[in-house]
């Protein structure tokens, strides 16, 4: 193992330990902020698979977040177990991604962005106007599942549960990206025509990536429902996709773990800054502008540059 790789692994282990032990050191509100960062981090990482590796910029990723969230919200009150909490939302989101992906992958570039956006807005419209789904106020009173017979109602228990799932998702994505499948995706991102000429069924690979990303987004959505105990149609909004997009870009596109860092930066900016000043929007906007102009690789890019670790 070379120096930079060891250093990076050590940093990750230290960070994970810090996150795991955070509830012992801090009050409930900061811990809940951290939990929310982990959830959005999973969402952002799944989007990075699409954007950073497969080169597909999707503005409709919130559709799968929402499908996962609502599936959990509908099932958990009746079946408070892991099947309803994790498996069903992932499957439902995956199916949604299969259908939407099948149609969307026919187009590319801006058209792909707009078509995926259209689909998620359609979901929003349906959820907003459907009484069974709670209409504009959404569904409330969702219980957390029992995990291996134990309740995860307390903040500490939920923290452990969430951390385990986040680590599993991150490792899974890391493996996918490093696998032959991941390499093909990167090849498609770099030069789709060449991959096609060589004989790869490009569309099938893209669709697979779309479904995998969608399933993980569904898990993130379900975790969000379990975290808050309720869900509203805003989960489907194009602005939710937009925020995930920003998190990926801020963290560093194509870095995978940048998604969690970006989620952290965004949520902290959005929540903390607004507690101190009315001009939080101005600060947020200027931060983005300055970030783009002076830190093009996102947070991870800046870190790598600073510490001297090459990509």
């Amino acid at each position: 193992m070379t120096g930079p790789v060891l250093a990076r692994a050590a940093a990750l282990i230290v960070l994970t330990a810090a996150v795991a032990l955070f509830p012992l050191a801090a009050g409930t509100y900061p811990v809940k902020l951290l939990q929310e960062i982990l959830i959005w981090g999973i969402f952002a990482m799944s989007l990075d698979l699409l954007m950073g590796f497969a080169g597909m910029v999707s503005f409709g990723h919130s559709a799968f977040f929402g499908i996962g969230a609502y599936t959990a919200a509908l099932l958990l009150p009746k079946f408070p177990g892991l099947l309803a909490a994790l498996v069903a939302p992932a499957v439902a989101a995956g199916l949604g991604a299969l259908v939407i992906g099948f149609f969307s992958i026919r187009v590319s570039g801006v058209y792909f962005i707009m078509l995926t956006l259209a689909f998620s807005q359609m979901f929003y419209a349906v959820a907003f106007q459907n009484a069974f789904l709670g209409a504009e106020d959404g569904l409330v009173g969702i219980p957390r599942p029992a995990v291996l017979g134990m309740s995860i109602g307390s903040t500490g228990a939920f923290h452990a549960y969430l951390l385990v799932i986040a680590i599993v998702c991150a490792l899974f994505l890391w493996r996918v990206v490093r696998s032959p499948f991941g390499h093909v995706l990167r090849g498609i991102h770099e030069n789709e025509a060449r991959m096609q000429a060589v004989g790869y069924p490009v569309n099938r690979y893209k669709l697979a990536a779309f479904v995998i990303a969608g399933m993980l987004a569904g898990v993130a959505g379900s975790l969000y429902t379990q975290f808050v105990g309720s869900i509203s149609p805003s989960a489907f909004l194009w602005t939710t996709s937009g925020e995930a997009l920003l998190m990926v870009i801020i963290g560093g596109t194509g870095t995978l773990f940048g998604g969690i860092l970006g989620a952290g930066a965004f949520i902290l900016l959005q929540s903390l800054v607004s507690s101190y000043t009315e001009r939080w929007m101005l600060i947020l906007g200027l931060t983005f502008v300055l970030l783009v102009l002076f830190a093009p690789g996102g947070i991870v890019g800046a870190l790598r540059g600073r510490v001297g670790l090459r990509a």
């Binding site: 570039g109 349906v126 870009i249 947020l284 783009v292």
Partner: protein, 289 residues
């Protein structure tokens, strides 16, 4: 439904479609010609509306505001293009997304800081404050003005782009910027001009839409999606497409609202999905690889 009812709704659809055209033509120019993802398009629309408000407050003259506000927004466009966008042409769409998203927040908060968050509105100019009866259909005279103005604008733009030297330079610059620069034309200045022009058009639509709609700091977001959809349906960078797309959507939305209650949230997305699935490059866009 009686013929005059049908005609009345078609007229409504035309006025809405023309308004959409004015809203989106600036975006298609920037998108198609500069290949820049300008999510802050709605912000220029908002700046135009507020500049219009300020000018009307100062002079009481709507027509003056209509003429001058777009110029002010164009200047803002020049500043943005030279300071923020120029470094990003080579960097690709993702960075442009983040930057223009940041600009949305910045502009919205600045406007709120200066003018406050209260809802405001540009009053209808006295000359056009009544409604008229056109072959049995009642329509506000202001909307008739919008239709006329929009169609004149469409023809004017087409003439500039297709028939003037400036238009030729722009078209050349879009097609092959290196070659055009190689022929001694200051390509940077052309790009700045096009961007500023696109922003000015958005600002103009902000003033024109003013008497019909409201002005409030987050208003940019409300037209961004419709504008993007029109551009995509029509085909990126195509003036003809922008007009065709907006007129199509105008009629679809209007009749959808009249005949399919409950579906009004969905219509515009369904139209776009259908068009893209049949013609992935939009109605008049260049065929993609």
């Amino acid at each position: 439904m009686a013929g005059s009812d049908l005609f009345a709704q078609a007229l409504n659809g035309l006025s809405y479609g023309v308004l959409l055209f004015l809203l989106s033509v600036g975006l298609t120019l920037i998108f198609g010609m500069l290949d820049v993802v300008n999510l802050a398009h709605g912000s220029y629309y908002m700046l135009g509306a507020y500049a219009g408000l300020a000018l009307i407050a100062a002079t009481g003259n709507f027509w003056l505001a209509l003429a001058v506000a777009p110029l002010a927004v164009g200047v803002v466009g020049i500043v943005v293009e030279r300071t923020c966008l120029r470094p990003l042409y080579r960097r690709g769409p993702l960075d442009q997304v983040l930057l223009t998203f940041g600009l949305i927040y910045v502009f919205e908060d600045l406007v709120k800081w200066i003018w406050g968050g209260r809802i405001r509105s540009i009053p209808t100019p006295e000359l056009l404050a009544s409604s008229v009866n056109v072959w049995g259909a009642v329509i506000p005279s202001y909307r008739l003005f919008v239709i006329a103005f929009g169609l004149v604008m469409a023809i004017g733009l087409w003439l500039v782009i297709e028939k003037t030297r400036l238009g030729a330079i722009i078209r050349a610059g879009v097609y092959d910027s290196e070659m055009t620069a190689g022929m001694g034309i200051n390509i940077h200045r052309v790009f700045t001009l096009v961007f500023a022009f696109g922003a000015a058009l958005a600002g103009l639509s902000g003033v024109i839409a003013g008497p019909i709609q409201s002005a409030y700091p987050p208003m940019g977001a409300s037209i961004l999606i419709p504008a993007l959809i029109v551009v995509v349906v029509g085909g990126l960078g195509s003036l003809k497409g922008s007009l065709a797309g907006s007129l199509l959507i105008g009629q679809a939305e209007t009749f959808g609202k009249a005949w399919l209650p409950g579906a009004s949230m969905l219509i515009i997305y369904v139209v776009m999905a259908v068009v893209l699935l049949m013609r992935p490059q939009g109605l008049f866009g260049r065929a993609l690889k």
